[in-house]
Symmetry: C2
Subunit: 105 residues, 2 copies
């Protein structure tokens, strides 16, 4: 299931509006209307993007009275980062092995 | 244009077959048929995935005779990783500020 999680994570991050929302929420929680503010976008469009972020596990929301507050889930960001770091490490190891081989010959 | 680059990068990584191709290429270059091997997939489907990876700047290919060799572009992986790390740092800074605030009160 980890794979499907990464599918949803990277898919959610492939959109500039959703990345801007993540950037905003990394600076602190925000209500849906605060989140909507910088975008020339309808409320349903913002809610749609939020839904994709929630399904990816990147954002959680909670409702108090009439205000829905959105929060970042840093663990989800970390998962995507770790996958990328893992690939880079693999590639760097490969480079090191090549370097050793060149020194030996 | 950096934004569009991240769109393409994250979109390319949102597919499990393409991530498996990236994982394979991080262990070293491969021909298209070597890359195709682990997948129960037609050649056109594999070539289609490769195209998405190339457009995202994650993979470059070069042809010698009849063999097309694919290579990873580690800088593209690094770009995606850096964006994620930047968000995490922002979030951790926010946490630190909150911690300081709590200590002060």
């Amino acid at each position: 299931m980890v794979n499907h999680r990464l599918d949803r994570l990277f898919h959610a991050l492939a959109d500039p509006t959703r990345r801007a929302m993540v950037e905003r929420l990394c600076r602190g929680p925000a209500s849906v209307s605060e989140l909507k503010e910088p975008f020339a976008m309808s409320l349903p469009a913002v809610v749609g993007h939020l839904k994709v972020l929630e399904e990816a596990g990147l954002v959680t929301t909670s409702k108090q009275g009439r205000t829905r507050t959105c929060q970042i889930e840093p663990n989800a960001l970390r998962q995507a980062e770790q996958w990328l770091a893992g690939q880079r490490t693999e590639w760097e190891r490969k480079l090191d092995r090549l370097g050793t081989l060149l020194e030996e010959t």
